[in-house]
């Protein structure tokens, strides 16, 4: 999503690494204070990004059932000596409710922070940062630049393949295939006549693209220069310092 704020201007590598780092330290939180602190941090980041909050709520939607399922499971199946409510194998206790709340918080934190990454960073920036982060792997002959180019081409062709799918679906519909009817098995079966032509056409696109790339002098990724460069600046350093501060406060707040 286009926009402009401090978060947008951060080096994508910093955003990428911090997102993963944050997901890691979320698991260090173990009491009300530490969870509350992390929540304040995430909301602060959301505020600084100037991205509309609605998008974060929308980011939760696909995960709704998973969250509900896990939370309910935690709430009713946590063993306890002091149950509030008990019925056959279901037990509702204070401990269970607390753990369920923590799990719920964990989901929210992780989803919000990763939504923040994807909303403020373009896919190509993410693929660039992966390339940059994986650079050391060149030592063990891992083809970093090739993998990064593959990734960026894959991203570039997603909308094209979606178009292709729509076209094939329309063509099949014109021949009387109904994708919305019948049971689950029948619906899955209806997708086979989409997948096969899609597969064939993606191969032909790949062939065309390979020819086009070769004609433009692409050899094997060796000796290439880069047009897009990532610019590391002072604000990226400060972000890392800030994150270190967050970690220290978190370590201070959590109970041992």
């Amino acid at each position: 999503m286009p926009g402009d704020s401090l978060i947008y201007r951060l080096d994508p590598r910093v955003k990428f690494l911090i997102t993963f780092y944050f997901i890691g330290i979320v698991f260090l939180a173990n009491n009300v204070a530490s969870y509350a602190f992390l929540m304040v941090f995430v909301l602060f980041a959301v505020l600084v990004s100037k991205v509309n909050f609605i998008f974060f709520i929308k980011g939760l939607r696909p995960m709704f059932w998973l969250i509900l399922f896990t939370v309910v499971l935690q709430a009713f199946f946590t063993p306890s000596n002091h149950p509030i409510w008990h019925w056959s194998f279901l037990t509702l206790s204070k401990e269970g409710l607390v753990i369920a709340t923590y799990i719920f918080m964990r989901f929210i934190l992780i989803i919000f922070i990763s939504t923040l990454l994807t909303l403020t960073t373009t896919p190509i920036e993410i693929s660039d940062s992966i390339e940059s982060i994986l650079k050391p792997l060149r030592v063990i002959k891992f083809p970093v630049t090739q993998v990064a180019l593959m990734l960026s081409i894959a991203l570039r062709f997603v909308p094209l393949l979606i178009d292709e799918t729509t076209k094939i679906m329309d063509a099949q519909r014109a021949r009387g295939v109904d994708f919305g009817e019948g049971g689950l098995i029948k619906r899955i079966k209806a997708f086979v006549p989409i997948l096969i032509p899609l597969f064939v056409s993606s191969f032909s696109i790949a062939y065309d693209l390979a020819i086009a790339m070769e004609s433009r002098g692409y050899k094997d990724g060796q000796g290439r220069s880069k047009y897009r460069v990532l610019q590391w600046s002072m604000r990226d350093n400060w972000t890392i310092v800030f994150m270190a501060g967050v970690t220290i406060i978190l370590l201070f707040l959590r109970s041992y």
């Binding site: 020819i211 086009a212 692409y218 220069s225 880069k226 047009y227």
Partner: protein, 276 residues
């Protein structure tokens, strides 16, 4: 005139095929010439251009680009002199944005970044797409995509541009801008253009036209002479130009001796108008 491309006795057949896709072609193409290649589907037009660019290897014969005979070592240098604009604008876009795509050929040559930024801007300005620099290719029209593809080719400053049915998937507007652009570029710089096409308007602009049939050159002539063949054109998979068809029906009032181009026809019609 020097020959920029010199093809001698080239034979080629696709793996697993019995028939020769290119069946003994010899052809010299001069610098700064606009050559149209026409012919039915499967006559070997695209194969010929792929052989020129070394994308396929010929079975026998030789191809020289700018005086250097192509082989596995020299082909990479040769490719820097040749740019191909393909048929489907979507299938040749490598970059995630317009500027990234234009830079792709330059990245392959290992050009330093500062130079690349300049070259990309210059190439985009040539095709008048500089305002779309940051755009995602999916948001462009077909004609705009082909213009970006041309910019990608121009960025490497080639001597030869091959248009492999580059206008066939465009609407009339897009087609016109692309053709005009190529014509304009050729008049400004030393550029050889090879265009494969089914479009008569496009061939009318060329200096020379060759007709391929079953992998052989069956006609090597000028557009005016080719269109004089009238009925025979259909054998080569071509239509008669619209101007010819109009003039043919007016033979009793205007002067029609064979091929007539648009300007000629308009002149004739004006004359007719002033007579009556």
């Amino acid at each position: 005139m020097t020959n920029i491309i010199s093809i001698k006795d080239v034979y080629y057949k696709y793996p697993g095929s019995e028939v020769y896709a290119i069946n003994g072609i010899s052809l010299d193409i001069q610098k700064n010439q606009w050559l149209s290649i026409v012919g039915k589907n499967g006559s070997g037009k695209t194969t010929l251009t792929r052989l020129i660019d070394g994308l396929e290897e010929s079975e026998s014969g030789s191809i020289a680009i700018d005086g250097v005979i192509s082989d596995e070592q020299t082909i990479w240098e040769a490719r820097k002199k040749i740019g191909i604009v393909f048929q489907n604008p979507d299938h040749q876009f490598v970059g995630a944005t317009v500027e990234d795509d234009v830079a792709f050929g330059l990245e392959n040559q290992g050009m330093p970044r500062e130079q690349m930024v300049e070259s990309v801007d210059r190439a985009l300005a040539m095709v008048d797409m500089q305002d779309y620099k940051k755009r995602d290719p999916q948001s462009l029209s077909g004609g705009q995509k082909q213009r970006v593809a041309i910019a990608g080719v121009l960025a490497i400053q080639p001597q030869i541009i091959i248009m492999d049915e580059s206008t066939s998937m465009l609407d009339p507007d897009g087609r016109k801008t692309v053709i005009n652009l190529i014509e304009e570029l050729r008049s400004k710089q030393d550029l050889t253009v090879i265009s494969i096409t089914h479009d008569i308007e496009e061939t009318q602009l060329s200096d020379r036209i060759i007709v391929l049939n079953s992998g052989k050159v069956v006609k090597d002539t000028t557009p005016a002479e080719l269109y004089n063949l009238r009925g025979q054109l259909q054998e080569y998979g071509l239509e008669e130009p619209f101007t010819n068809l109009v003039a043919e029906n007016l033979t009793d009032v205007i002067d029609f001796k064979g091929y007539i181009d648009e300007k000629g026809l308009i002149d004739q019609l004006c004359k007719l108008n002033s007579n009556t």
